[in-house]
């Protein structure tokens, strides 16, 4: 029986493979929203109102777009980092922890370095975030290269460890003593990323992230180290034969990768929260994996996939308020969209 079903999808889908790319992608995404509509109807809400709210919230106003972009920002930065690591076949799933590490380091510099001019203070704050992220990435990279330790485990375990460290810091050393709650004091104003679009939260970090994406595109395709990252990932042995110091390259790649994730945390702290709070990343580090892969590890395409994800998250969130769609249904829609988008993008080519 099962075999029949599989054979059936085989037959059905072979025509589909001849379709132009854009058309089938569109159909697949439509299908995802149709499936979502069934759930929305099931809870007695209106799919049209819900999807209208989704689009309006994501792109319908200056503020909506700004919110989409500030959400895209950490996804983009961490996604860029993940793209680099995955190109070198280093399966970093520690971006979440690296985001937290970056956030903590940025917060410390933003809180305690007094008397700096704004530009210098912001630069140092972001730099601190990058160093924090990179530090966390360094050990899994070193263990992998020197001892052959599986990086998926080490990076995943470090996520849990770091999140507890952040919790500890917020209960103890970094806690705002004046406040009754477990948050750090506000960063000094000189460490705040400036707002770019008046009356929104659109901060400079967004532009920085987009600029970095272009830079990294150039870096991957036009520089020696970029070439070596790609070569080491695609064929380690051949890279070695060509005289590339593969281990050296992997360590640098992971440092860059985790520094970018750390930067995502720093930007979130100094651009949005202006202080360190627990849970300031609701799983950006995991979503960024999907963002990077849906962008096919191409920096410029990662810009678009991060915006797509941010729009989806923002818009879906707005469906709660505009159309009373409960959160479980929103998760179902998000999940279906992610799975089906993966299908539409990768069906022709092998991924990775």
């Amino acid at each position: 029986m099962l075999q029949k079903i599989v054979l059936w999808t085989h037959k059905r889908t072979s025509n589909w493979q001849q379709m132009p790319d854009w058309l089938s992608s569109l159909l697949v995404i439509l299908l995802a929203f149709l499936i979502g509509a069934l759930f929305i109807i099931a809870i007695g809400a209106s799919p049209l109102a819900a999807y209208g709210a989704l689009l309006r919230a994501a792109f319908g106003s200056v503020n909506g777009f700004a919110e989409t972009m500030i959400k895209a920002c950490p996804l983009l930065l961490a996604g860029l980092g993940i793209s680099l690591a995955y190109r070198a076949q280093f399966w970093n799933i520690g971006a979440e922890g690296q985001i937290y590490a970056g956030g903590v380091c940025a917060a410390i510099v933003g809180l305690y370095l007094h008397g700096l001019p704004t530009f210098a203070h912001i630069t140092l704050t972001l730099l601190a975030g990058m160093i924090g992220g990179a530090l966390l990435g360094f050990f899994p990279a070193l263990f992998k290269v020197r001892l052959g330790v599986n990086e998926m485990i080490t990076t995943l375990m470090l996520n849990y460890v770091v999140i507890q460290v952040v919790a500890y810091l917020l209960h103890g050393p970094l806690r705002d003593q004046a406040s009754g709650i477990t948050i750090s004091p506000q960063l000094l104003k000189s460490a705040w990323l400036p707002i770019v679009v008046e009356r929104t939260r659109f901060h400079l970090g967004v532009l920085l992230a987009v600029g970095l994406a272009l830079l990294i595109h150039w870096f991957i395709y036009r520089t020696v180290l970029g070439y070596q990252i790609r070569a080491s990932g695609e064929n380690r042995r051949a890279a070695r034969v060509g005289g590339i110091r593969v281990n050296w390259v992997i360590i640098w790649t992971v440092l860059l990768s985790s520094a970018l994730a750390g930067l995502a945390g720093a930007v979130e702290v100094s651009g949005v929260q202006h202080r360190l709070v627990e849970d300031f990343s609701p799983g950006y580090g995991y979503l960024a994996i999907a963002v990077a892969l849906l962008g096919n590890l191409e920096p410029v395409r990662v810009i678009f996939s991060s915006i797509l994800f941010a729009a989806l998250l923002n818009g879906a969130d707005a469906m709660q308020r505009a159309a009373a769609v409960p959160v479980p249904v929103i998760y179902v829609i998000e999940g279906v969209v992610i799975v089906l988008v993966a299908v539409s993008i990768f069906r022709r080519k092998g991924s990775l």
């Binding site: 709650i181 709070v277 849970d279």
Partner: protein, 311 residues
């Protein structure tokens, strides 16, 4: 004061929105607020809306979204969303805001401060009197101000009632992880605890369940949790969000809203739950002691300090 938001005209229904960082069915913190909202709807005929699982980075967006949709009263039910609440309240001076367990008010921003320390102190007395092994356990969710306040007052009551008693403390690092709550409680029971105070949310279900299975007396929290393990749950330290939120909404509807601190103490529903079928397990004199102390607190003769910061 003129800047105080005025309730809408009689003909129009008052619209109240609630923003939660967790789910409405989390068995604790968020569910209590949701139930408060429902109660307000039932009692005061307001129109309600809510958003669940709003992570901290999106909190402000959600608040602003409701504000721009013209909601009259917007409730932020998260102590750490400080920036979000303060910024939005500042930008929408005509709209009333309520921040539960917050630490700062504005003219249009009221704060609910649950005085859980009072009931927790009474619970501590109860535990101290009733323990036979002189070992009492406390399993907390996350060590945040509200749970810490409860923990500190519980310990105070315990030590007062029974200076010999030892308090075992476990924090499970989650308000949702039932499994972790259960494991922590089991480990305390193994260590000899014969009364367990579950101080938190969803994870409390696991705590009380463990007590139920091992037949060890237990005290719940946040809401009346008797049903989780009717054989052992003596009472629960209710936080009173449910009543508190309904009360603030009622004030708003009655035009009495102001940016003040609502201290929700014993008289406002932040109380010990009834003993239900387990009253017989509590000796008469202990029941009387608690009754007495409770009255003293209500009358202002006894004040329980709010120790809400973790060391």
């Amino acid at each position: 004061a003129p800047a105080t938001p005025t309730p809408a005209a009689e003909t129009k229904k008052v619209r109240v929105a609630l923003v939660l960082d967790g789910k409405i069915d989390d068995n604790g913190w968020n569910q209590a607020a949701y139930e408060g909202l429902k109660e307000a709807e039932a009692q005061h005929g307001v129109e309600i809306a809510y958003s669940e699982e709003i992570p901290i980075p999106d909190y402000e967006k959600a608040l602003r979204d409701y504000a721009s949709q013209g909601y009259d009263l917007i409730i932020a039910h998260s102590s750490i969303a400080k920036e979000a609440v303060m910024n939005t309240a500042k930008d929408y001076p005509k709209i009333a805001f309520l921040w539960t367990d917050g630490d700062e008010t504005r003219e249009n921003l009221a704060v609910i401060r649950p005085m859980a320390q009072e009931a927790s102190y009474l619970a501590g007395l109860l535990a101290g009197k009733i323990t036979k092994s002189n070992i009492v356990g406390m399993v907390g969710g996350i060590d945040i101000p509200s749970t810490h306040r409860s923990y500190a007052a519980f310990e105070m009551g315990l030590k007062e009632a029974n200076p010999e008693a030892k308090l075992l403390v476990n924090w499970v690092g989650s308000f949702l992880d039932v499994a972790a709550g259960k494991e922590a409680a089991l480990s305390q029971i193994e260590a000899g605890a014969d009364v367990i105070f579950g101080n938190g949310d969803g994870q409390n279900i696991g705590v009380l369940q463990a007590a139920g299975e091992k037949n060890v007396l237990a005290i719940g929290a946040v809401r009346d949790q008797f049903n989780v393990a009717p054989n052992v749950v003596l009472t629960s330290v209710e936080w009173g969000f449910r009543k508190g939120i309904a009360e603030v909404v009622g004030d708003y509807v009655a035009g009495k809203f102001s940016g003040k601190v609502y201290e929700i103490g014993l008289a406002h529903g932040a109380d010990l739950s009834p003993y239900h079928e387990n009253a017989s397990k509590i000796p008469e004199d202990v029941q009387n002691l608690i009754k007495e102390k409770r009255q003293q607190i209500i009358d202002g003769k006894l004040s329980i300090p709010d120790i809400s910061s973790a060391q």
